[in-house]
Symmetry: none
Subunit: 214 residues, 4 copies
DNA sequence: AATGAATGAGAGTTCATTCAT
DNA sequence: GATGAATGAACTCTCATTCAT
């Protein structure tokens, strides 16, 4: 947990620090990311940064958590605004498009998503990935349940498999356009939000048999 | 590319170096992995290590490539030995089981798979992931084509989507049992090869509608 | 000298601070002991601690002095309670036993004794050791004089030498049981109060010729 | 143990490092002594210093040991040169005078003696004091045995007590003249070698009854 | 008077790489 | 070609103290 000093800090300063940390960790990951770079960009002395957070891990964990929370809130808002009367398949396309747009508009959050996902150090990853996944799951699972209850998903679909796939695809759609070497098949790398749209449609259509009724 | 000295080296020495590097990079990743640890374990001076490879990146890239090649060869051998007369779904289960077993038996290769997949640094990842994926693709794609030609995969299935999914699942099955926080749904983490089997069957069955004919 | 604020403080708070400081300095010595640890344990902000004492040295000196004073009072009380009619040698054994017991029961005071004795920094040690020694001397010297006047110590004994020896032995008996490497000959390290008794008797007996009459 | 690099180093360089370390540790002790100061004085980069010794403790332990060894050799030489035909008391005075002279001429060694003796940290002190004492003991004990066998020490003297006293006195004579607050009785502080002589004589004479025959 | 915040200096240690032999 | 040595830059983290409120 951050120190009490951190929580008493004014919002602007907090934001400067969090942004700097997102940028650094998002670019270089936890172990290679450097506290001094963060402090430099936040325009505070390194020692001050370490009065806000007891150590590097604590800062990383805090920023991860913060990002997750904000991502989740925003995505819940966006998904909540979608049209529930359309067919499931179209709705799913909309969800992924919202996600793709959000990620495009939020490079820092995207970076942290990558950093959390890619951390190798067990201790650090432990702090992060489980939480992240839980956040995503708490969006995905209730949604699927809703559609299933409405009879718009085939009754014999395996929920766990669907959820697992969804988690994978969210990560894929978030990262593949920005990190090369991830998607060698659909060619997402380097594509704009608009260009991603048909690929998303292709993906969802391809997965259609998994859920489409009748 | 490694120096000419490297290629003139006797096999045993080369193996010692590659093994040490796999262990180190596989455990700590590229940026956190240390050349001195590798040199120490390979029982050569650090300076000698850097006569074999011009710098850290080169060593990493070489080892990644080497691992990929060996993994591919071994997997081609194993998949080639499977029964082609059984239903596609059963065959697919067999493939993933072979993969799961191979990964379990080769911790060093598994570590490098993780290291390659998780590297954040663009420069380094570029060297690695594309190659890795190409290796996998060259196993997966011809196989799928074969089954499709044999009429055992529904004609309207989207090959690209299937391939993308396959790539994702191979990574998932390889890493989720060994790194926590990756699979929060199926609970693969910590499972033995035997315990993974039913989960693999569940996954393939869940994906059944994607390819099953009729 | 502590600030005026310090002296206006309520007793409980003062005690908390002194105890925390004793524990910290007694464990780590002056230069390695940390003000923030002391403040933490005393449950006051570091800045408040430095309103009580102008700097670290001042706090250390104060605590040393405080400890000395209390040690001296207690030892005077204890020694005053001993039987003056027994032979000098027996009385001396009693004195060292009381001391050994007191030290065993007061780990904080023991720690500070060690810290004062072992400080290397000239500036700091100067503040401390002279005072400490004076306290001890003011117990030892009058006692020896008393016994000498009573004719129970040989007339030709060199008082200065006896006193010097006494000082050394008090320190030895206080520290050797708790810090290894101090006593390699008698094996005091790790001994309980009861186990120390025979060693003390051995020491006093061995020194017997120095003072025993006739 | 120092690294192999250290042992292959030329003598001059080694001496520069050891001297710098003696000066620093001897002045400030282990925990307060700084590697960068040592490196600075030895005119090598700090990183080079840490290629000779794996860490601070190792350097400290090495220097302590080195000092002990040299001190012991020199003292064995000096004591061996003394006249064995004089009375024990005179011989003892000579020994302490040699010691006092040696310490006066070797400020660096004196400092390290103090540093070893005064280290509070258990881990570090463990490395040092026991060894130091053993070195001293291996000079003192055989000597006492020799004199006792020659019948020049009273048969009923307690050897252990004599040895313990000797160890204390060697330390006292070594440090009291240079660190104030140690000797408040005999006034050794600040005295030259010549001025120390009569005090030594007084000490030995005062202890006379402990060993003098008849 | 109390106290939270800020801070520069410095600590020990690791590292990839270069250089000289 | 093999290798020991050197090295500067960077790292995280701690500390006693000062300042502003």
């Amino acid at each position: 947990m951050p120190t009490s000093t951190w929580f008493r800090l004014n919002v602007a300063q907090r934001e400067r620090v969090v942004n700097a940390a997102m940028r650094e960790f998002g670019t270089h990951g936890f172990s290679t990311g450097s506290l001094s770079s963060i402090a430099l960009e936040a325009e505070i002395p390194e020692s001050v940064l370490l009065r806000y957070f007891n150590d590097k891990q604590e800062l990383f964990a805090y920023v991860c958590d913060d990002v997750c929370r904000r991502v989740r809130e925003e995505m819940e808002r966006r998904v909540g605004g979608l049209d529930f009367d359309q067919p499931f398949e179209d709705w799913l396309v909309d969800v992924f498009c919202e996600w793709s747009e959000f990620i495009a508009d939020h490079p820092l959050e995207r970076g942290m998503t990558a950093a959390g996902t890619h951390e190798l150090d067990t201790g650090v990853r432990g702090l992060v990935r489980e939480t992240t996944n839980q956040h995503y799951l708490q969006i995905i699972e209730p949604m699927l349940q809703l559609w299933r209850d409405a009879g718009k998903i085939r009754a014999d679909a395996d929920s766990q498999v669907l959820t697992t796939l969804a988690l994978m695809l969210f990560q894929h759609v978030a990262l593949a356009p920005y990190y090369d070497g991830i998607d060698s098949v659909l060619g997402l790398y380097g594509q704009s939000v608009e260009e991603q749209r048909p690929v998303i449609r292709q993906l969802v259509a391809g997965l259609g048999p998994l859920f489409s009724v009748g």
